[in-house]
């Protein structure tokens, strides 16, 4: 398990400085929160980490390896998985197939063996399916394997995104507003899932608007506003910072 480290990361879109000199650390076994008002640049940070956007300055590393110049699929292969703020599904794929899409072990089988349908290929596929089933069981979705992703309920779609990301067997899991639109009971249940994943050694970066959820769940919180880091530390410390309250909560008490 490796630590994800951002050092002096900046990103400019034309005249807009979306992220400015941001440094943060996402450690294995911990849930790190990233909060800030709308337009603060949170999703941009996720897109920078995953390589979908290139940095204007700074470095991003996983363990002792720089990853900010790698193409996005390589970043994913190294073990950085994500979910999307606006759920993105393979709509016509079944739940099982969607998860299997994240199981990359089959790529170890040579192409000719796949074309000939040799036993090695069938074994690899069976292993992927078994893994997908285990993930469904873990997320209490076993009976939905054959359902089409696009026809699931909202909460199940969010879970599917998480299972799909976990299929990669990630070292780092980037969750972009995973409980948006959920009620408290559903959010709490997912929170327990995230705790369990962190306990397994996964480094989790959680972007979230639901303050109560973030404060209760995160080990450490980074607060950004207009692309700049304004505070970081343990939830209690961050909550007490007047600048955070002003920037994020508009002066309201939390």
């Amino acid at each position: 398990m490796a630590t994800l480290k951002l050092s002096g990361v900046s990103r400019r879109f034309g005249g807009v400085q979306a992220v400015k000199d941001l440094s943060m650390t996402v450690e294995p076994g911990r849930i790190t929160g990233l909060i800030g008002p709308n337009g603060a640049g949170k999703t941009t940070v996720v897109n920078l980490i995953t390589g979908l956007l290139k940095l204007t300055a700074g470095t991003i590393s996983l363990g002792d390896r720089d990853i900010h110049e790698l193409p996005p699929y390589r970043v994913a292969q190294l073990g950085i998985a994500r979910t999307f703020q606006n759920i993105r599904l393979l709509r016509n794929a079944s739940v099982l197939d969607s998860i299997v899409a994240g199981c990359r072990q089959e790529e170890a089988v040579p192409l000719y063996a796949q074309a000939l349908g040799l036993p090695a290929m069938r074994r690899a596929r069976a292993a992927s399916i078994e893994r997908a089933r285990a993930l469904m069981a873990e997320m209490s979705m076993s009976e939905y394997g054959t359902h089409l992703a696009g026809e699931l309920s909202y909460g199940h779609q969010r879970r599917l995104e998480i299972m799909r990301a976990l299929a990669l067997n990630p070292a780092v899991l980037l969750l972009d507003e995973p409980v948006a639109g959920m009620n408290d009971a559903e959010a709490e249940e997912l929170g327990r899932v995230f705790r369990r994943l962190a306990a397994r050694g996964i480094a989790i970066l959680l972007i979230e608007h639901n303050m109560r959820f973030v404060m209760a769940l995160c080990d450490e919180i980074y607060v950004v506003a207009t692309g700049e880091l304004i505070d970081h530390g343990q939830p209690d410390k961050v909550r007490a910072n007047p600048r955070v309250i002003e920037a994020y909560l508009g002066g309201e008490a939390c």
Partner: protein
């Protein structure tokens, strides 16, 4: 009885060759590449095989493999610039490629025979050879399609950003799709050349491009059965209803429009999806009943 069978063999051969072209078009569409290069790649294969046989006296089997290799190489080269384009821009670029190949074929008289094409190719390919070609293509694509390659193709087609986030190397899988498409189209073109005794440039024009696209749109682009079903229906239709034959292109156009409106996934994939829905519905109602029983 024998007469009956031999009477229909040419039609069977035509259907098999069309299935080959349909498979070539299918494999790129499944991988999310909107390439319409199949007609051009088939003409490359046809000319390569024809030239090898007529000018170099190469054995038929080797010539057909040469046609497949030529189609594959051109497709792989094509995949490099096309990787930068998406959607309709890929379609336009590949249509242009088909026109370029045809123009070259028309003007390079010395090599291609110009407007007359290549003639006098001995007919050395019969139904068994064509069936073997179809069997290899279908099995290979089916086998790849139900494993990692199919999963990757489907993911890329449905949402490229998701595919990338799952570590799927999009450019590499799309190059693979191009290579398969080119090899199958090249082989089909080469077999056409051997089967028809000749290579005629007009055969590989815009008509073939739209016809081949119609096979896949009508049949479906996820399962391998889709293009086969589409090719069989559209190849047999003008034979069954003779008066339609003269207006083939109109019928194809109409069928494409109807398929897009009413069966956007094509015949085969629509059936697969409907059956899956029915199965899930049945399972759900069993669960509900069980729950009712407890209550």
């Amino acid at each position: 009885m024998i007469d009956f069978i031999t009477g229909y063999l040419p039609l069977l051969n035509l259907v098999i060759l069309n299935c080959g072209l349909a498979l070539s078009q299918y494999v790129v569409l499944r991988a999310g590449v909107f390439s319409l290069a199949t007609a051009g790649l088939a003409s490359i294969g046809a000319y390569a095989a024809g030239i090898l046989i007529l000018r170099a006296g190469v054995p038929t089997l080797v010539s057909v493999l040469g046609g497949a290799a030529a189609g594959m190489i051109v497709a792989l080269i094509l995949s490099l610039p096309l990787a930068r384009l998406r959607g309709v821009f890929q379609a336009i670029a590949t249509v242009a490629l088909v026109q370029i190949i045809l123009s070259v074929a028309l003007y390079a008289d010395d090599i291609t025979g110009g407007a007359n094409g290549l003639n006098g190719i001995p007919q050395l390919v019969g139904t068994p050879a064509l069936l073997l070609f179809a069997a290899i293509s279908i099995y290979g694509l089916w086998s790849l399609g139900r494993g990692r390659v199919g999963t990757a193709f489907d993911a890329i087609r449905q949402d490229e950003t998701v595919a990338v986030s799952l570590g799927i190397a999009v450019a590499r899988y799309q190059a693979l799709a191009f290579a398969l498409s080119g090899a199958i189209a090249g082989a089909a073109g080469a077999l056409m050349a051997c089967h028809n005794h000749s290579v005629v440039p007009e055969e590989f024009g815009f008509d073939m491009l739209t016809t081949v696209l119609a096979y896949v749109v009508l049949g479906g682009r996820q399962s391998v059965a889709g293009p086969v079903v589409g090719a069989v229906i559209l190849s047999l239709l003008p034979e069954i209803a003779r008066p339609l034959a003269d207006n083939r292109m109109i019928i194809h156009g109409l069928l494409i429009m109807l398929a897009i409106i009413y069966l956007p996934h094509g015949i085969v994939d629509s059936i697969v999806i409907a059956r899956r829905r029915a199965a899930n519905g049945a399972a759900a109602s069993v669960v509900t009943k069980a729950a009712d029983g407890h209550a």
